[in-house]
Structures are given as C-alpha cells and as structure tokens.
Symmetry: C3
Subunit: 331 residues, 3 copies
C-alpha cells in the first residue's frame, strides 16, 4: 500500500487531488474501486474516465477536466502504468521446500517439489517430481501435475486437471511500454491464470497470467503440447486446441471450438462458439458465425511454388492489367 | 486384469458372450490377442472385425452379427474405448528418489534426478541435474540427458542418444472422445515412445507416446528444438527436422527426409523417403515422389499484402469473371 | 590441447606440414589464431584461405596449393570439422549441488538449484527453485531466473535480465554434417550464448549457443514465450519478438524491430533496424528498408478456401492462359 504522493514520486507525475489517500492496488478503469489506481490512454476511453470509481487515475493533461477523482498527470500514461505495476507485484518466498503453511489434503507430493506459502492442494491430487508451485496457488481435488511443471504465484487450478511435464502456468504476459528512446519497460502482470475443472494441458505449453484481470481456461478445455496462451485470453468450455498453436493477448475463444495445430490467433480477436479452424491458419478477424474456416498456402513442388509465389506478390497488378486489356478490347 | 463382466460395467456395455473371461490389455483390432480387448468404429473396418483374434470387441449393435468373438455393445464405441483405457494405465511410483530397483550400469547421475522403479540406464550414460525418469524406462549406453528433461514411464531410448534440456518424452497423446453433451473424454495412452540409436532431440521438444501402438523415432534422426511429435508418429532413419515443426498423430515420415523449420504435417499423412520440405510449409497430402516441396506466402510490404490478400480471397470469383468476359468478347 | 598429428588421426586426415604443433581450439577461417584450427569448404572461400592466420586448416586436396599454413587434407571438410569439434567441447561437472568454487554475491538461491564450477552470480539476483546453471556461467546483478530454467555451460547473462520458467539457454545448435551414407554427424557447438542487460526471455523459449562464435541477444531485447533462437543469431538492441516465433541459424535482426508471433526467419537472413513483421509471416529474403512487412494467407470459410487453394496451385498456368486468350482476341 502506498499513498498517492508516493506513487506520484515513483512515476514522476503531477498530483491533482489528495496526495494522502492510500492506494492498495491497480485495476482497469471500469472496475477500479476507491482504494485502487487506474490509467486512461487516449481520448476514446473518455466514457470510462468520467464514470470511473477509481481512487486515482493516471492520465494526460488534456483529460484532466473530465477526471472525476484524483489525477496523476503524466506525458506517457502507458509507460507510467508499466512502471507503477512493479510496486504492486507480490514478492514470493524463495526457500520454501514445502512451506509449513501449505495445506496438502491427502495429496501425494513426489521428490524435489517446491511448494510455496499458503498453497492449497486438494485431496487425491498428485504432484510429480521436480515440480514447482509458488505461493498462494490453489489446486483442486484429483489433479495430476506431471514432472518439471511450474505453477507461478496465485494461480488457481480446478478439480481433475491434468498438467503435463514442463508446463508453465502464470508466466508474465508480453506487455511492454516503449519510452521515447525506444527502450521497452515491462509491465508487471498483476492478474492471475485460472484453470477450470476437467482441463488437460499438454507438455511444455505456456499460459501467461493476466495484466490486471485474469487469463481464463474454462471447464473441460483440452490444450495439446507447446501451445502459447497469452495474457487475458479466455477459452470457453470444452474447446480443444491442437499442438503448437499460439493465442495472442486478450483473444476470446468460444465454447466447443476445435482449433487445429499451429493456428495463430491475433490479439483481441473474438471467436464465437462452435467454430472449427483448419490447422496452420491465422485468425486475423473476428468470427461471428459457427462453421469451419481455413487459410493456408497449399503444398506444391518447390519449382512450381517459386513461380506461383512470384505471381502472388503481383496479383493485384496482374488482375488490374487483365481488366484493362479486356476493356480496351471491348471498346 | 479385469473380467469382461467388470469391463462391461465400467463402460456401461451389454455383453454378448462370456462375461468371465480375463482381459489383460487393449490393442488394435488387427493385433489384439485372445486376452486383449479391442474396438471397432464404423462399417469400413468390417474386415478387421471379422478377422480379429481379440478376446472381446467393443462395437455397435449393428455390427454384432459380424463379431467373431465376445462383444461389448455400446452406442458410442470411441467414447467407450476412451473410458476403458484408463483402467489399463499403469500407476507409477511417486516417491522414488533413485528407486532401489533401478539398474544403473556405470552411468553418472547428477543432483536431484528422480529415477523410477525398474529403470535401466546403460554404461557411460550421463543423466544431468533435475531430470526425471519414470518407472520402466530403459536407456542405452553413452546416452546424454541434459538437465530438466522428463522421460515418462516405459519409454525406450537407444545408445548414443542426446536429449536436450526440457525435453519431454512419452507425454499423453492428444486423443479425446466427445460425448453427446460436447464434453471431451481423454484417452489414456497405453503405447510407448521408442527412440532409436544415435538420435538427438533438441531443447523443449515434446514426443507423445502412442495410443495403443508406439511412437517411433528411428536410428540417426535429428530433431531440433521445440518440435511437437504426436502420438503414433513414425520418423524414418536419418531424417532431420528443424525447429518448431509439428507432426500430427499417426503421420509417417520416410528415411533421409529434411523437414524445414515451422513445418506442419497433418495427421495420418505419409511422406516417402528422401523428401525435402521448405520451411513453414504445411504438408496436407501424402507425398509419394522424392523431391523438394514448398507452400508459403511470400513476404511483401504490408500495404501490398493488404491488396494481394484481398484478391486471394476472391481468386475463384475473379478468374471466373475474367473467363466469362473473354468468352463474351470472343462471341 | 592436441598435437596436429593427434587431430589428423581423429579425423583420418593427411597432414601437409608440422604434425608436432599444439592446437588448443577451433575458430572460423578469418579469426583463427596460430594455435587454432579452422576449415575451408568450397572454392568461394579462397580469400579467407590465403589470408588465414590459423595454425592449421582442414581442406580438400585441390585447395592445398593456396594454403598458407599447415594443412589437414580430407575428402569431406565439413564432416571432418563436425567430428573434431567434439574433442574441444569442455566436459562439465555433473554432481555439483552448489559447487564450492561458485561465487554467489548476495544473491538468493532457492531449493534444488544446481550451480556448477566457477559460476558467478551478481548481487541481488534471484535463482528460483529447480533451476540448473552449468559450469562457467556468469550472471549479472538484479537478474531473476524463474523455476526450472536451464543455463548451459559458459553462457553470459547481463544485469536486470529476467528468465522465465522452463527457458533453455546455450543448447546445442542444429548443425549436422552428412556422411556419404546419409548419416548425420552432430557438430559440437563451441561458441556461447550471450544475453545483454535488461533483456527478458519468455517461458520455455530456447536459445542455442553458437557454433564457433556466439549467439547474441543485445541490451533491452524482449523475447516472448516458446521462441526458438538458433545458433549464431544476433538480435539487436530493443527488438521485441512475440511468442512462438523461430529464428534460424546465423540470421541477424536489427535494432528496435517488432517481430509478430509465429514469424519464421530463414537462416543467414539480415533484417535492418526498425522493421515490423506481421504475425505468422515468413522472412525469406533480406530486408534493407525499414517498414512493415507481411505475408500470410487470409482466413476464409473452409469451402471457399478449397476453391481458392486449388486456383493458387495453378496460378501461373491460369495467368498464362488468360494472356494467350487476350492476345488471340487482339489479333
């Protein structure tokens, strides 16, 4: 917990308001409460600004008139947000062994597992060798964690979940703010990753935690090996995703979808329920109608592809050319 | 081992035959022996059905007349199969340290390794720190396992094999049966993963075990980092596969092939010997003729790609249009 | 250290020169010193050959006349090079725990870490549970290594570096020489991987060491999860690469680039500063002009893609056909 005055110093902001109020967390503009901080980037969020219940808001000078609460005025709000997140990241215990505060209810813990402070593990769960579970993780009943997995602080894992070897849950999201010298400043991700019941997660798959809200994998989801699930992604119930796919930040996938292997899903995309995506496709726009979608270049003998590939880069020109020729002939 | 009567109860099947016979395993219809169970899905497998030597067969009512042995009649054979596999999955020891039954013949075992029951490790092999080897794994001579690798139960690894850090061998395949409410039921994979001699496997690569038969990586194969090899894949001798490729279930790759990086190979595909696949291509049909094959979209300035991409989605329409225009002009 | 006579025996070469000289390392033709060995493949490297300062050069008979120093004459120079690298690979300690020679300056080391001989870890650094750091690694101040990471021998890691769970740094590159029977012979990679200051590396990402020179990740770089960085890649300052991308051997990426997720970059490619690559593209040629580049197949309803995909494979033929038709009409 910091006073607003301390926070203003951390991020080099001008306070307009009460520097003595206590701030105990960060949340998005629409959900932040009176003891929390938020930030507004760009004019399009003006509605969120004027209705915000936050204790204080990081914003640009030009938005100051619309600010309903205490303001922290900076030049670059996203960069200031990135910097302040680190002050709210929880420190964890690093020499836990199995921490005495951990509640392990009739679960099996294999060799060389490290289990942090306040961890709860449900009954009949198995934690295999060399797996690391950080502070404040809660794992349900009948879960099976295979060897060499890593569950980072504060993640929640439901009942009957299977986590394959080498899986990482709760890693930092890939959110970075760039300063005016082109340097990246990482955002400390304060959200969590929440895995529902009856989920299976394949070997070496990685699931990032959310920035402020959570990454969510709903009940019954099936994830294959080597999949990347970025921060704040939501995957609906009973959706299955094949190996080596990657889902970028804040994408939302509906229920009962079947996503092929090596599919890429762009950030902030929405896919509705009951969608099938062909293997190796890229989903670069929202999908609002159930059905099967694909977009891949077919395989050809290399010699043929060299010709085809060349024509493709000239496709708009050749079509324009053919149309003009046709017109001329007609005239 | 279960009686057929017990199995019928586990999967809620009607027995037609001898409920007292003992079943000690599951195998495919063509290889199952008189003490094993198998299943038949769909009419096209009728030949496998009538010739099966299995002790019992899970099937639909309509195939009952063609069943040469004891039958377990269910509505959804694949779902029933998925459910019964879990009864035949071997339980492993979870607090082994280095299990006293392990036979380690003049090999070096580094710190924090966990080595299960009945494991055999050949002479001059090195098992690096924090690696986990589950029950019944057999590793040959002169193998080098790097740190933080995981070899799951029952896998076989040949002589002179190099396994890089973070590799997972023998993870569960991505096989799931869907019930009539859209929920997935995992298949317990009862096959193994068999790695031949002189194979090298790159960092964080994952190799799934087979469903009933084995996943096979033959002698001299080179696998780069972050590759996914799914259940029942067979990779022929001296084939090399570059990083971040993914090979879907039951694909077969011939000998001496060279597969580029980020290549996707669809399930059940066959690639003959001496094939070269250009990086990032998708192999979506069988390849029967040696040679080089490619299929990727070439890189363009983004502005150009936006036009080209639009034409591509309309390619069949524009070609039809041009053809009609030409015909009209001719007439 | 070996005499040239010993080396000739190891790789079955004919010596032309002084078999008694001592060789203590291998380097590229342009950088090798008088106590080092190098190799020349193909006539195009003749300039490097005649100017080489190496103590000895592996080459073909036909280049012997141009050799300015001791020669090791073989039929297949690359294969001979691959074989001799293994004699210069440093052996590491395999039962270290925390080796007494490690210098740990006010850093936190969590449970089950294994830290090799002569490792140096800077002040305020945190090494999380079950992480393995091999001999001769140097880590700067304020570094944070998450659990289950592996840093292989001799790698250098700067200040303020964040290494996510499951990361592998310094794995062997995917370099193999093929003999005349189609068998692969691995090259032992003698270079290192050097990570600059203020770099973050995402979960389960893999960074290979260089063949003779180093793989380099410069200051301020951001790497997301599940990225493959191959041997001898150089990534310039403040470049950010999104998840599941793969960069093949000896590619060079400039400063301040932004590479999307699932991008593939072909080996030996050069990308200049300030380039943006759209997600899922392949970079298959050098990029010399800053700007944004893309090349992906757009997503379509599967039925439409089946038609479009067919036309694409016939694109050169249909364009040729339309052109001929047009010409005929004109005549």
């Amino acid at each position: 917990m910091y006073t607003l005055g301390e926070i203003a110093e951390f991020i080099d902001a001008k306070i307009v308001g009460d520097s003595a109020i206590q701030i105990d967390g960060i949340a998005s503009a629409t959900t932040a409460k009176s003891t929390q901080l938020t930030y507004i980037s760009g004019k399009k969020h003006n509605k969120a600004l004027v209705n915000s219940q936050a204790g204080a808001i990081i914003l640009n000078e030009e938005l100051l008139n619309d600010c309903p609460t205490n303001a922290l005025v900076v030049d670059d709000t996203y960069l200031a947000f990135a910097k302040i997140t680190h002050y709210f990241k929880k420190q964890i215990t690093h020499q836990a062994g199995i921490h005495p505060s951990a509640k392990i209810n009739n679960a099996q813990i294999a060799n060389n597992c490290v289990i942090g402070k306040n961890v709860v593990i449900g009954s009949n769960s198995i934690i295999s060798a060399n797996t690391v579970i950080e502070d404040n993780v809660i794992i349900g009943d009948n879960a099976y964690l295979h060897p060499n997995a890593t569950i980072l602080q504060g993640c929640l894992i439901g009942d009957n979940v299977i986590i394959s070897p080498g899986v990482v849950i709760g890693s930092e999201g890939f959110g970075n703010a760039r300063d005016n010298q082109g340097r990246w400043h990482s955002i400390a991700h304060l959200g969590s990753a929440i895995i529902g019941n009856n989920v299976t997660i394949g070997a070496n798959t990685t699931i990032d935690r959310g920035t402020l809200d959570n990454t969510e994998i709903h009940d019954g989801v099936r994830l294959d090996n080597l999949i990347q699930v970025a921060h704040n992604v939501i995957i609906g119930e009973h959706t299955a995703i094949a190996a080596s796919s990657a889902i970028a930040g804040s994408a939302t996938i509906g229920k009962r979808c079947m996503i092929g292997g090596m599919v890429g899903i762009i950030g902030h995309i929405n896919i509705c329920d009951d969608v099938i995506i062909g293997g190796k496709s890229i989903v670069d726009k929202n999908i609002k109608v159930p059905g099967m979608y694909t977009g891949v270049m077919p395989l050809m003998p290399h010699r043929q592809w060299k010709k085809v590939g060349l024509w493709i880069t000239k496709l708009d020109k050749i079509i324009k050319y053919l149309n003009i020729k046709l017109k001329k002939l007609k005239d």
